[in-house]
């Protein structure tokens, strides 16, 4: 702090501090506090705001508990509220997206970091970047086209004789998962590649010379070494998936609702900003807990994740 003052003088130090303060206070912290505060207030017509009915309560949060539906999982079947179900399923399927993205990315990263020659690396990365530059809305739209009832997927399968009647692909959560994996898999590739790249080739050769089978080389050397990258990629993909609104909304599978779509319905169609705030805060709380849990689990710090 004094360093800052000595180098840049009064005016510039003031500017640096106030720009940062504007960012963190006005754009990040205070809006989130407002979100929390608004989430405890009832949804009232304008005239009643600030009146006797405008008291703090947990009413908005309780709204997640209405409307019980059947839920079966792991062979157990019980009744839970519809919105809780959507919340739970969003988390489960986001976890699934993360796992699939990891399984797809890991061999690719190993190939990029350890197998391919250095000369073709820039070209390959450029090719990987191309789909990333095409906007997310269009990438999801591409899968929407592929999976429609009269779309190319059904047409090809029917031409091959694999199926006799068109299959309704856009049903349940699987189309959303497929599209999310496609949209976010590259956010898994780059961090894992980065951490794998710093692994010394001699370690791999030593292990092989000592007779380790390929799977043990991966299990004992490559995997532990790339842990920070895996943690970073997984947190990124999980957060992007759980917070995604664009992908589930474009795929628009009526039996595969995402929690963000619930929030959107309350906010924009119901115009009930207070309940929307309560639900958004629940999502924020969950994400915070999830990031902290992942950091503990992988024993990494925030600076590893944010790289």
């Amino acid at each position: 702090m004094e360093q800052l003052y000595r180098r840049y003088g009064k005016g510039l130090t003031f500017m640096i501090v106030s720009l940062t303060a504007f960012w963190l206070l006005v754009l990040v912290i205070l809006p989130d506090f407002k979100l929390l505060e608004a989430s405890f207030r009832p949804y009232l017509p304008v005239v009643d705001i600030g009146g006797p009915k405008d008291t703090y309560s947990l009413g908005n949060y309780a709204q997640i508990l209405g409307n019980p539906v059947d839920f079966s999982s792991f062979g157990l079947s019980f009744q839970i509220p519809a919105r809780v179900k959507v919340f739970v399923l969003t988390i489960i399927y986001s976890g699934m997206v993360t796992l699939i993205a990891f399984l797809l990315a890991y061999p690719l990263c190993f190939y990029l970091a350890k197998v391919v020659s250095n000369r073709s690396l820039p070209t390959l990365f450029l090719l990987l970047f191309v789909p990333l530059w095409v906007s997310e809305v269009l990438r999801s739209f591409a899968w929407f086209i592929i999976m429609t009832l009269k779309g190319p997927l059904n047409a090809i399968l029917m031409a091959l004789g694999a199926i006799e009647k068109e299959i309704r692909w856009v049903d349940g959560y699987s189309p959303v998962v497929v599209t999310l994996v496609y949209a976010y898999v590259l956010f898994m590739v780059f961090p894992i590649y980065n951490s794998m790249q710093s692994l010394d080739n001699n370690q791999l050769e030593a292990a092989e010379d000592l007779g380790a089978p390929w799977w043990r080389v991966h299990w004992r050397i490559v995997l532990p070494h790339s842990k920070p990258g895996i943690a970073s990629g997984s947190v990124m993909v999980f957060m992007l998936s759980a917070g995604s609104l664009l992908v589930p909304a474009i795929i628009n599978s009526t039996t595969g609702n995402w929690f963000t779509q619930t929030i959107q319905g309350i906010m924009l169609e119901g115009q009930d900003w207070n309940t929307g705030a309560a639900f958004a805060f629940m999502l924020l709380l969950f994400c915070t807990v999830a990031v902290i849990a992942a950091m503990r689990l992988f024993r990494v710090s925030l600076s590893d994740i944010a790289r």
């Binding site: 510039l12 963190l24 530059w133 809305v137 269009l138």
Partner: protein, 279 residues
């Protein structure tokens, strides 16, 4: 064995690239199909009418203009804010640094839906209604984090001794900033501006909740997909993919030419030293 594994790797890489590219090809192909729905499979003949319709669609041009304005505003705010944050966090130590860093990185991990709603509610209490100005503020709150990370990484290779030297030689504080620190940060600032611009164009979640009635490109495409899709969106997608590809090819050719020049120069140098030694 070794060779086999390498072959397997090449095949996997090729399959992965195919997996990334094929959906884009399908989508671009649908732009030329003479069918009311965006699809490729019942091929009803080649047409360019969707491009004509795209050209005549005034709403889309308005949306593109809005998107560019928002992106420029985000760059103008996020770059100075992120840079200031990085300089500040770099000048403190210990616990404060950890907390400050955590606060600055956290917005990246906050779901866009939450940022959008909290921004909307926060400004609403000061009677500032929704609109693209709020979208800008909401986007800056997390895009500044990317700039901060880039600048902070660049600051690690900065020698503060240079600033001390300049001060000792009588430079003013503003000169130290302008002539010493900022030139060192230019690459990071450039990269930060580019990332801010593209992140802003891509943004959907924050914009959806804060935009009021205004369209940006992502929101427009989204609403188009939800209500009455025609292949005009595919025509747009085709143009965007072509644009990206041309840029990528141009970049690759440039890179290869530079690499060649570099190699030639190295070769010359090697030959020169060899000659010297021989003489």
């Amino acid at each position: 064995m070794q060779l086999n594994r390498k072959l397997l790797g090449h095949i996997y890489m090729a399959a992965f690239l195919l997996y990334l590219m094929l959906p884009l090809v399908v989508m671009a192909g649908a732009a030329f199909n003479d069918s009311k729905l965006p699809t490729v499979m019942p091929w009803k003949g080649l047409t360019s009418r969707w491009f004509v319709e795209l050209w005549n669609d005034n709403r889309i041009w308005g949306a593109i203009l809005n998107t560019v304005w928002v992106a420029l505003a985000v760059v103008a705010l996020a770059v100075p804010i992120g840079t200031a944050g990085a300089i500040l966090v770099n000048s403190v130590n210990g616990r404060v640094r950890g907390i400050l860093y955590g606060l600055m990185v956290a917005p990246i991990l906050i779901p866009g839906v939450v940022i959008g709603i909290s921004t909307l509610l926060f400004w609403h209490q000061f009677s500032i209604g929704s609109g693209l100005h709020l979208s800008v503020l909401g986007q800056v709150s997390y895009i500044a984090s990317f700039v901060m990370l880039l600048v902070l990484a660049r600051l690690q290779s900065f020698d503060h001794g240079l600033e001390e030297a300049a001060l000792d030689l009588g430079a003013s504080h503003a000169q130290v900033m302008r002539r010493i620190l900022l030139p060192h940060l230019y690459p990071a600032l450039g990269a930060g501006a580019a990332i801010s611009f593209f992140q802003s164009i891509e943004n959907f979640n924050v914009t959806l909740f804060t935009r009021g009635g205004a369209d940006t490109l992502t929101v427009y495409v989204f609403s188009k997909v939800r209500t009455g899709i025609t292949p005009t969106i595919n025509a747009l997608a085709f143009l965007m993919i072509m644009f990206t590809l041309i840029f990528a090819i141009w970049y690759e050719i440039n890179r290869r030419r530079k690499a060649k020049i570099e190699a030639a120069r190295e070769n010359d140098a090697r030959r020169a030293t060899a000659l010297e030694e021989a003489v």
